[in-house]
Symmetry: none
Subunit: 193 residues, 2 copies
């Protein structure tokens, strides 16, 4: 079954992205066209030849020294906050957050975003998490933007405990849900900073 040019080029791009180790010959066979057609396609799409592609992959691998992730990126960016009430933060899922294999975000990044939002929303010098129940509702993929919303639901100031609910969304779709029991050290009255 021969496809038209547009469709073929679309699939070509995909195929090569998925497996950069494929030769023009194999591609020609796959799409039932001549090698020359594949080469014209690559030319039009600016896809380099096999050896260049392999080299690129290798170089990326070889010069990979960016192992640690800065804290700012783990936590996400706080875009709205009202202390002791609610807060919203935003995290863009990038290469460093996902399993290489399938581009699904690793759970602990979603947890980190939610947990640090829960810490931030507490109006205190410092809050600590003591207990937490969480649920990963659907997988989050590379490139998606996760918006976490925290809400303080219980304030038991005397005991120094507070409960925060966090829900995280991708395009208004719930992807993560967590309940965080926070400990806040003894309050000093009227001290605001």
């Amino acid at each position: 079954m021969r496809l038209n040019k547009k469709e073929r080029q679309r699939l070509l791009k995909e195929t090569i992205l998925e497996n950069p180790f494929v030769t023009d010959e194999e591609l020609a066979e796959k799409f039932s066209v001549s090698i020359q057609t594949i080469r014209l396609d690559r030319l039009e799409l600016n896809i380099p030849e096999l050896r260049e592609r392999i080299k690129n992959v290798a170089q990326k691998n070889f010069s990979e020294e960016v192992r640690s992730l800065p804290i700012e990126e783990v936590i996400g960016e706080i875009i709205d906050i009202e202390l002791d009430e609610h807060a919203i933060s935003l995290l863009d899922i990038k290469e460093e957050h996902v399993f290489k294999r399938n581009n699904i975000a690793r759970g602990h990044h979603l947890f980190a975003q939610a947990n640090s939002l829960a810490v931030a929303v507490i109006n205190d010098e410092l809050a600590l998490t003591i207990k937490s129940n969480i649920q990963f509702i659907r997988q989050v993929k590379l490139g998606e933007r996760v918006i976490a919303k925290a809400k303080v639901v219980e304030k038991e100031m005397e005991k120094g405990r507070t409960v925060v609910h966090v829900e995280s969304f991708v395009n208004h779709e719930l992807v993560f849900k967590g309940e965080f029991h926070m400990y806040r050290p003894k309050h000093k009255e009227g001290v605001q900073k």
Copy 2:
């Protein structure tokens, strides 16, 4: 300055290991010998040609044949693992893990260690966390070494679900406890050529 064969071959091996992207021609120049000598050396030392070397580096990155989870993706260092049974990992709490204010470790790092250990202990292509209950039992401070122990407690293979318990210790003192409900996807046959 020409070296003798032995010395040249020793350096050759080193040079290529350090920079696999070097051609025979460049090597010949570097050691002031002919290209043929370099090729004889590679033959004797069983060093493949440039393109093969590059391909190897690339493939390592692209992970065509890596069985389970690559170790570097685990937070902390795995020091013992028996798939589907138990695993132990170690995490030294450094500057980047703590609140600057009081040098207490941020909760999500303990979670990350435990969570990735739970993922790693599952003997499958890839496991995902669906649900988790956790408790932060005592604060962990800068400089402390956290040892996390994961134990697979329930295997319901048909449903693709597994429960893993993780307990983390500092000097035999329990600091963190968590229950992780993991999902293991249905196996797909490798389609690669």
